[in-house]
């Protein structure tokens, strides 16, 4: 246990420089880049005095280094600042949009695993067959499909033409989210109060967006699973298990797949990053009320503090996920020493 704690600590310490660098880059991009946000907001015709007043109020007239220190200090306190456009803190603007994005991203991840792993395993079992070739082709092509196009196509086919699934929002208009909203994760929230109908509605709305993400990002899992399975199926312990009279199905699943899946865990962090990025586009396509849509909306409105806040939250999300993945890996592979 002591070892585990120090392992976590070490990982955290390693993550901090990276987070720090990213936060600095965000600062540089958003403050130092050309374009005067205040003029943009108030218009060029606004009198200089008004512009300067506003700048002072926002702290934008201080020297850059002072602004940087302020920025870090604020973040350390957990304060993401205030919106420049609306009367709200950035944190409240983000509010329940964060769980919306995380929920979408996680289901997208589940979908990509749920599609990718079985396909990869199926391909490995019939190597060099037509099935194998088809699956590998799928894996390579799928990554080149723009995620927003995939979303549009799914909307067209399953939403408009077939009418099986909804194409926007997290819930139907008749379902009021405020009735159950607690954590912001509607799947958990509806189950928590036992509202099965609402749960069904929430899941129904998740299908197309999650599939969009899932299909486009399943390719890597197909390839990884296939490659790992092929390696594993050649090992001696598989042969030895068969020699002991263990049925083939169990050999493939318990001995084969479990070992093959371990390297996949290491990929989860990278895939999560890609999923977050894809989620922004998916949220736009499906009018999903998440951070991605918030980001785009505030970019349009030139609300810099909110833009900055959202990107900071994304950074933290990615770092946390990366840490979680490392811990997960250490937990499931007994050979990892900590």
């Amino acid at each position: 246990m002591r070892h585990l704690a120090s392992y976590i600590l070490t990982r955290l310490l390693l993550a901090i420089p990276m987070i720090f660098i990213l936060l600095t880059i965000i600062f540089v991009v958003l403050r130092v880049m050309p374009g005067d946000p205040v003029s943009a907001m108030l218009g060029d015709r606004a009198p200089l005095r008004v512009i300067n007043e506003k700048k002072h109020a926002l702290g934008l007239d201080k020297p850059i280094t002072a602004q940087y220190v302020d920025y870090l200090g604020q973040l350390a306190r957990g304060d993401l600042g205030n919106s420049m456009i609306f009367q709200q803190t950035v944190s409240s603007a983000i509010g329940d949009k964060l769980p919306a994005t995380i929920e979408l991203t996680l289901f997208g991840l589940l979908a990509s695993l749920g599609i990718g792993i079985p396909l990869g395993a199926a391909a490995a079992r019939r190597r060099r067959s037509g099935r194998d070739f088809g699956i590998r082709l799928y894996a390579n092509v799928v990554y080149c499909i723009p995620v927003f196009w995939m979303g549009l196509l799914l909307q067209l086919l399953f939403g408009v033409v077939l009418g099986w699934f909804p194409i926007s929002g997290r819930t139907s208009p008749r379902v009021t989210s405020s009735a159950f909203s607690w954590s912001g994760f509607y799947t958990i929230d509806t189950l928590r109060i036992g509202n099965v109908a609402a749960f069904g509605d929430v899941m129904w709305h998740l299908v197309l967006p999650a599939l969009t993400l899932g299909i486009v990002l399943s390719g890597i899992f197909v390839r990884l699973t296939r490659a790992n399975m092929l390696d594993v199926l050649k090992t001696d312990y598989i042969l030895a298990a068969r020699a002991r009279g263990i049925p083939e199905r169990r050999v493939v699943f318990n001995h084969g797949l479990r070992n093959a899946l371990i390297p996949i865990v290491t990929m989860l962090g990278l895939q999560f990053s890609l999923l977050l990025a894809g989620a922004i586009l998916t949220e736009s396509t499906f009018s999903w009320p998440g951070m991605g849509r918030l980001l785009l909306e505030r970019i349009y409105l030139r609300d810099y503090p909110t833009i900055q806040g959202v990107i900071v939250v994304y950074t933290l999300l990615v770092s946390v996920m990366s840490l979680v993945v490392d811990l997960l890996y250490a937990a499931i592979d007994p050979r990892v020493k900590y």
């Binding site: 042969l239 068969r242 070992n259 050979r335």
Partner: protein, 326 residues
Amino acid sequence: MQSTSETILRVNDLTIHYPISIGIVRAVEGVSFTLADGEALGLVGESGCGKSTLGLSLLKLLRPPGRVTGGSILYRGTDILGLDARSLLAMRGRSISMIFQNPLTSLNPLFTVERHFLETIHYHDPSLSRGKALAATGKMLATLGIEEKRLREYPHQLSGGMRQRIMIGLALIMNPDILIADEPTTSLDVIVEAGFTELLANLRKVYKLSIILITHNLGLVAEIADRIAVMYGGKIMEIGSAQDIFARPMHPYTQGLIDCVPNIQLDQKELVTMPGSPPDLVSPPVGCRFAPRCPKVMPVCTERTPRLLEHAPEHSSACWLYERHG
């Protein structure tokens, strides 16, 4: 030395082929031998002579594209090659078991020792309670000289010798009749090897095992085997009691193998080797497969294949030196 016990394994004219892109590898060709109850048979030969392939085929563990294309393997009268899937699974690990060369890679790195045993027991005897299964495992470990606390450890935490013993334990936990050992000591150091031999002799008595020992190590075979079959190029060249093979070898290949083992008691100036290399199994030479390397080769050897015939009591060889040719 006629064994008075029954024959429990009879291999008849077994032929195994591997189709590959450039042709068919004739890995094993017309091999026949028997194994008596309680007997230890050594299967020796160089790498690539087909002995490992033969061993795998006894449990129908051949990897495709390898296939048995002819012959039969009779275990207590039933042809293993004709068994359906369920009977085959029941037989593996329970009637006939196999252990392999590398103990580390033969154990699942994600399974504890305990899990390996419980799984095997469960699939052969599902009605046995977990408690009883654990008890049986504990007993086995004691016989193997492994502490009980090792049950909860993973393979990478154990030493090479321990893993080897675990592998044997897994093979014997269901008390099989026959144990096939494929190069069991090749990846072990000499001291562990000595321990292995002792353990095997012990277990053999306790469990009344019959053993097929597949190896290129003549020393190992001399210690353990009652009878020895010498393989070359996919065929059996000579078969007889261990005594006969070592004291009165018939086949020039056997003689060559024995000569190759460095003897500390002789004043050897150089290591003895056999010139040439193993035959191409895709297009093997016509006639005797050893002819190209044989120091006693005759014209007939490259024309016709000698048959495996009993030229002395309980001692057969396939060689034109003994078979009449005219």
